[in-house]
């Protein structure tokens, strides 16, 4: 932060370390990125519970370089924001990058991928043919739907999934 004012208390940082896949430095780095979204309104110190109160609107978040070209950005923000609106508190923000980080295991990534892709449609128009193909490959119990279990089963075996479902911060 440049000055001495601490953004978080010790116990907060410990909590974040316990709840995410980040180290202390990374958490602070992500906080810097978060503040850069709108440094006029986000306080420097988050020691009093601001982390789950103050929200940055989606319009600011989607301008981040990491998200701005992503066709799923709206959905991503909705999935990760606690109220589903796309406006994110710092907690949500950190959680998002924790899931997208390299250390996050495959199954947790798969859960979020399911949530994100479950609603959004791919940039290309998914037409019937593709859909049938997908079902043919992934629908194990032939009920014409893709449950999470089935999704996870195929996605965990798609070699590039871990590579592509990953945002460097």
């Amino acid at each position: 932060m440049g000055n001495k004012q601490a953004a978080f208390t010790e116990s907060q940082l410990e909590q974040y370390q316990d709840c995410t896949f980040f180290t202390r430095k990374e958490i602070l780095r992500i906080f810097r990125r978060y503040r850069d979204l709108d440094s006029d309104h986000i306080p420097k110190s988050y020691t009093r519970g601001e982390a789950s109160r103050i929200k940055v609107p989606f319009e600011y978040i989607e301008k981040m370089p990491e998200l701005k070209e992503n066709p799923f950005r709206r959905r991503i923000c909705e999935v990760f924001s606690e109220d589903g609106s796309g406006n994110m508190t710092f907690d949500d923000f950190l959680d998002m990058f924790s899931v997208f980080s390299e250390q996050a295991p495959q199954d947790i990534k798969a859960v979020y991928a399911f949530k994100i892709y479950g609603e959004t449609v791919h940039p290309i128009k998914v037409n019937c043919c593709v859909f049938h193909q997908i079902l043919e490959e992934a629908d194990l119990d032939d009920d014409s739907q893709l449950s999470y279990m089935e999704f996870e089963h195929v996605i965990s075996r798609a070699p590039d999934f871990l590579n592509t479902f990953h945002i460097r911060i």
Partner: protein
């Protein structure tokens, strides 16, 4: 601490109209003093109380938002205005949209994801039905007592929230709650593995921590405290290391930028480069630490390096460099004795450093390759998921640039179109003539290829043979490498090899395009195969030449190892300069050319395969040279380091990503395999030279021995004469005997056979299980259909739009298996019927599973 957050009150919620009863806390007035001081993350007592006695009457202000996990859980406020209906309909669509129709099937436990990661997925599954019903009915009772309660829906959700279940589950798990650091770590893992929001995790964590503290107080042993302290210190240390690692992660920002511009394809090249760089670090440390430093400490007899240094030696590696630590020949064969009792056997150090490094490399490479192979081929082969992989993994989340995004869109589109065309196209029958023509072309191209391969190998051999005789003559007359012509003569062979390596791959790609392979993938693999075969062939020719014509007594060189070291040095250096030049010409100049005159030529594509193969070749040289020239690894490291920056600048300035998608994971496996094979070639060559070739008589650590391995045998002899160490010799003898080798081979064969059988039987099992799943699915469909047919028809089912407009709470997609979303305003039975109606309606709404809403 005057923070202001006015800015967010309204712009953030301008589009949302459902926040009128404290749900999202639209405004943030300065907290009342008492509340403000509550540090975030400390769970408010209200949650606990509420969870325990479920009274539901709460007083604190900040409870409103504390324990809601909106992502997975539901909210069941008593909404009755139209806005709320609208909201819930939206919400419902959000939760169940996208082709997962809202019928009863969606409420089955297996269809939920919600807040549970896989590790805690069993929570949902293990909860028995009556448990749930009990909880639900108690909830209903509570609701009916306070039908007009409007504030703070979260208070009630805590009752059913999956968060609480997970917390319960963790607390109930004795393994996780043990008072040891290991259990603590497992607890943390479990919490990290929850797929729910931060506040939920925090709550679970706090509760679990509190609970574990309570238990801690019960039993306190001194030993356990001490152990705990120790492990805590160790963990602290580890986390510090992790932080340090974060600082030292090499080239982080560069990699991020490259990924942003080009996606994972080109990134994989740079990651490969980085891997090689890091792989060379231990090689350098071992050889420098165990060979060069002792030699420097030893301070050989003051032989002054007479040779003059003109600068050309930097290129040729001969002359002045010959009598330095750079080459094998300079090292001593003595046992260094600095102090009495401190001995350092140079011969053994030389062998052990090399052997240790090769062993380390072997382990790292085999490990990486096998894990990559397992995930990308073996496991992937169980599931035939071309389409799923294409659809769900084709978007690269790392992309940050508009151009890259556009290109990605395009490539995803073309790929899927191609794939569809492939699937729907019946295997196109070629006419006899066409087939014949194709076979003939391929035969011709392969013949041409082998002609080129043979030609280039012969060329290399010819140059090496011809030039070397003159060079060796010159060296033995002490005239070498003084003048420019000599230097040129020395550099002729490396230049020729680099030229071949640069030009022929282009010829191979032309051959590939003539052959007209059905899939571009095959063309790529064939071209990779051809290129790497060429590089290997050249390496093998060189090795054969060095080990047969130069080494031992075959030539009259004073120190053949030094000569081979010099040759490799030259190869490495010329390769470096050549690659820099070709990067400059084929990328920079071409881009300039494109900009100035020929606009439609376009930016050059970055050829990942060719560049990676160049790196592998360079690394092969490095492995080969490390034995003959202990300081070569530092040169290779320097080379890779410079290369990273040059390629980075060149790629960002001049190149564009390939329009074809690059399957980074599979390609990496292939490249790792190739790297491993190259490593084996180097290993075989070095091993052969250690075990079978006579070292030079006048130089190097092994002078005077029959072969380098003899030094180990000598040591064993010395040991066998000492009474207390003689067993070592016996052990080595036993291990080296033919029986033992045959035994090991037999065991290995048996193991291979066993695993092959095991995997075959697993395959059969997988097939059966798949079949079983499919059958079960059909059964389930059948039963669900019967259930839905049997359910009483309500007006809602005929009028789907109205049904979901009733103030329903959509069911959780989380862990809570509440099959009947209860409607608080109605009696339980009615609620159940409503649920059915709603499910039916939703089912109709989402009937067209194949056409999910298209937002983009």
């Amino acid at each position: 601490m005057a923070y202001q957050n006015r800015g967010y009150q309204h712009d953030s919620y301008s589009g949302d109209d459902y926040d009128d009863d404290g749900y999202t806390q639209p405004d943030y007035p300065p907290y009342p003093p008492g509340v403000e001081t509550i540090p975030m993350g400390h769970m408010n007592q209200g949650y606990e109380d509420d969870y325990n006695d479920r009274r539901g009457d709460r007083h604190t202000v900040n409870d409103v938002r504390v324990d809601v996990d909106r992502r997975g859980s539901y909210t069941d406020g008593y909404y009755d205005d139209d806005d709320q209906e609208e909201y819930w309909r939206d919400r419902y669509r959000q939760e169940y949209g996208g082709g997962r129709g809202g019928n009863i099937a969606d409420q089955l436990p297996s269809k939920r994801i919600g807040t549970l990661g896989r590790s805690y997925a069993h929570v949902a599954a293990s909860m028995s039905e009556d448990q749930v019903l009990r909880k639900r009915s108690s909830m209903r009772r509570r609701k009916s007592r306070h039908p007009t309660l409007r504030a703070g829906p979260s208070a009630h959700e805590a009752v059913m929230s999956p968060t609480a279940y997970i917390a319960d589950e963790i607390i109930a798990d004795e393994d996780l709650m043990e008072d040891t650091e290991a259990a603590r770590l497992r607890r943390e893992e479990a919490i990290k593995g929850m797929a729910s929001g931060m506040s939920a995790k925090r709550k679970v964590r706090d509760r679990v921590e509190r609970e574990s503290k309570k238990r801690k107080e019960k039993k306190v042993g001194k030993c356990t405290i001490w152990c705990s302290n120790l492990t805590y210190a160790w963990r602290h240390f580890l986390s510090k290391i992790a932080e340090l690692r974060y600082i030292f992660v090499l080239w982080r920002s560069h990699l991020k930028k490259i990924e942003g511009f080009f996606g994972t394809g080109i990134l994989s090249y740079f990651i490969f480069l980085k891997t090689l760089f890091l792989l060379n670090v231990p090689l350098f440390v071992l050889s420098f630490g165990f060979i060069t430093i002792p030699q420097l400490v030893y301070q050989p007899s003051p032989t002054v390096n007479n040779a003059s240094f003109t600068g050309i030696e930097l290129l040729t590696g001969a002359g002045w460099f010959e009598n330095t630590e750079l080459y094998y020949g300079y090292y001593t064969n003595t046992t260094i004795k600095q102090n009495p009792g401190l001995m350092y056997n140079m011969q053994l150090a030389y062998l052990c450093a090399g052997g240790g490094y090769f062993l380390l490399c072997l382990i790292i490479l085999v490990h990486r390759m096998s894990s990559s192979f397992r995930t990308n081929y073996v496991e992937a082969s169980f599931v035939k998921s071309q389409f799923v992989a294409k659809i769900f993994t084709s978007w690269d989340f790392g992309i940050t640039e508009k151009e890259a995004a556009k290109l990605r869109h395009k490539s995803v589109y073309t790929e899927i179109v191609e794939l569809l065309a492939e699937t729907h196209k019946q295997a196109q029958e070629l006419t006899g003539g066409q087939r014949c023509c194709r076979v003939m072309t391929r035969i011709c191209t392969w013949l041409l290829y082998f002609a080129m391969l043979g030609g280039s190998c012969y060329l290399v051999f010819f140059i090496a043979d011809r030039l070397n005789t003159t060079i060796i003559q010159a060296i033995s007359d002490n005239l070498a490498a003084g003048s420019a012509t000599d230097a040129l003569r020395l550099l002729a062979m490396p230049l020729c090899i680099s030229a071949i390596n640069f030009l022929l791959p282009f010829a191979f790609s032309i051959l590939g395009s003539i052959e007209k392979y059905k899939y571009p993938r095959h063309e790529l693999y064939i071209s990779i195969f051809r290129t790497i075969l060429l590089k290997w062939a050249i390496l093998v020719v060189l090795l054969w030449f060095w080990l047969n014509k130069i080494s031992g007594d075959a030539s009259n060189l004073a120190c053949w190892e030094t000569y081979v070291g010099q040759e490799i040095y030259r190869l490495v250096l010329v390769d470096f300069v050549f690659l820099l030049l070709t990067t400059f010409i084929s990328e920079f100049i071409r881009n300039l050319f494109t900009k100035c005159c020929c606009k439609n030529l376009g930016k050059p594509e970055f050829d990942i395969a060719r560049n990676v193969l160049d790196l592998i070749y360079a690394q092969g040289l490095c492995w080969l040279g490390a034995f003959f020239s202990p300081l070569l690894p530092i040169i290779c490291m320097f080379k890779l380091f410079v290369f990273f920056y040059v390629k980075r600048i060149s790629v960002l300035m001049n190149c564009r990503a390939s329009s074809k998608a690059w399957r980074a994971a599979q390609a990496t496996t292939i490249f790792l395999t190739i790297l491993l094979l190259t490593f084996f070639i180097a290993l075989a060559a070095v091993g052969y030279s250690i075990f079978a070739i006579k070292p030079s008589t006048d130089c190097g650590p092994f002078r005077g021995l029959a072969n380098s391995y003899q030094s180990v045998l000598n040591l064993l002899d010395v040991w066998s004469r000492q009474a207390n160490l003689s067993w070592i010799k016996e052990v080595v003898d036993v291990i080296g005997s033919g029986y033992c080798r045959a035994f090991v081979v037999c065991i290995l064969c048996l193991l291979v056979y066993y695993y092959a059988k095991l995997s075959a039987s697993h395959k059969i099992l997988v097939e059966r299980l798949k079949h079983q799943i499919s059958e079960e699915g059909k059964d389930k469909q059948f039963l669900l259909k019967m259930l839905q047919d049997a359910s009483p028809k309500k007006d809602g089912s005929q009028n789907p739009n109205r049904t979901s407009a009733s103030p329903q709470r959509p069911t959780s997609s989380g862990a809570t298996p509440n099959n009947q979303p209860a409607s608080p305003a109605k009696s339980p039975d009615q609620g159940g019927q409503d649920a059915f109606a709603m499910a039916m309606a939703a089912r109709q709404q989402h009937e067209a599973v194949g056409a999910p809403p298209q937002d983009y």
